[in-house]
């Protein structure tokens, strides 16, 4: 099930040599309830569409799986880390 959990937090830190820098900590888990409602609606739509396509004899009827795998792709982005350093500007992006 955790393979389908979208990212919890995105942490962006920017530090420039001569300035204060800033940090953005995005608590994506706060958006999960809205996201899951939209996902549930999308899944209902794709299930109906796939069922109709299956009854109609269409070869392709995998829209529901496509939505679920796309969710998996989003979830797989957890653990991505980027560190960049250029001319005294340091940028860190972490997806948890």
């Amino acid at each position: 099930m955790s393979a389908y959990l979208p990212p919890l937090v995105i942490d962006v830190r920017v530090k420039e040599e001569d300035s204060r820098g800033f940090r953005i900590w995005l608590p994506l888990f706060l958006l999960w309830p809205l996201f899951f409602i939209l996902l549930a609606l999308a899944l209902v739509g794709t299930l109906i569409a796939d069922f109709v396509l299956l009854l109609g004899g269409a070869r392709y009827h995998h829209h529901t799986l496509l939505v679920l795998r796309s969710l998996g792709l989003l979830a797989a982005a957890r653990g991505t880390h980027v560190r960049a350093n250029n001319d005294g500007t340091r940028v860190n992006v972490d997806i948890y």
Binding site: K15, G79, R83, N85, N86, R90
Partner: protein
């Protein structure tokens, strides 16, 4: 509140410095303490080359030279992406293949079968790409 801030405010209260001077001093402290400094590159604890054994878990992109960039991407992202290709509707897949062909990458994504994905991931362990760019940056891509 840290000791430096207390000392500056104390000096202001005692009239030893003006409000402007205090503001300037507080600003200079702020640049050092407000935002925790990001981890310097190259990132500590990250491997510097492909792992000799085991299934690789991450793909690393390291750029050294004038620019320093470290990227760590979970291979689960690649695995899920490859699995997703088998579910793309045929019409969309044709368009993707045509666009890739036009961009000089003429291979059919339909040829990637879900049962081959683990083999592809496993063989990435032996992959290492080293590029030396014209501006002196070294780019290294590997899985570990």
């Amino acid at each position: 509140m840290n000791e430096d801030r207390k000392r500056i405010l104390g000096m202001l209260a005692e009239g030893k410095i003006t409000a402007d001077e205090a503001e300037m001093l507080l600003d200079s402290i702020g640049t050092e303490t407000d935002v925790p400094a990001p981890t310097p590159t190259p990132s500590a604890g990250w491997p510097t080359g492909p792992s000799a054994s085991g299934t690789p878990k991450f793909m690393y992109v390291k750029v050294t030279g004038k620019d320093q960039v470290d990227v760590k991407i979970p291979l689960a992202l690649l695995r899920t992406g490859l699995k997703l290709t088998s579910l793309i509707p045929p019409q969309a897949m044709e368009q993707i293949n045509t666009s890739m062909s036009e961009a000089g990458m003429s291979f059919d994504l339909n040829n990637i079968k879900p049962e081959d994905i683990e083999d592809i991931i496993q063989s990435l362990r032996e992959m290492e790409v080293n590029v030396k760019s014209a501006d002196g940056d070294d780019i290294k891509v590997f899985c570990a």
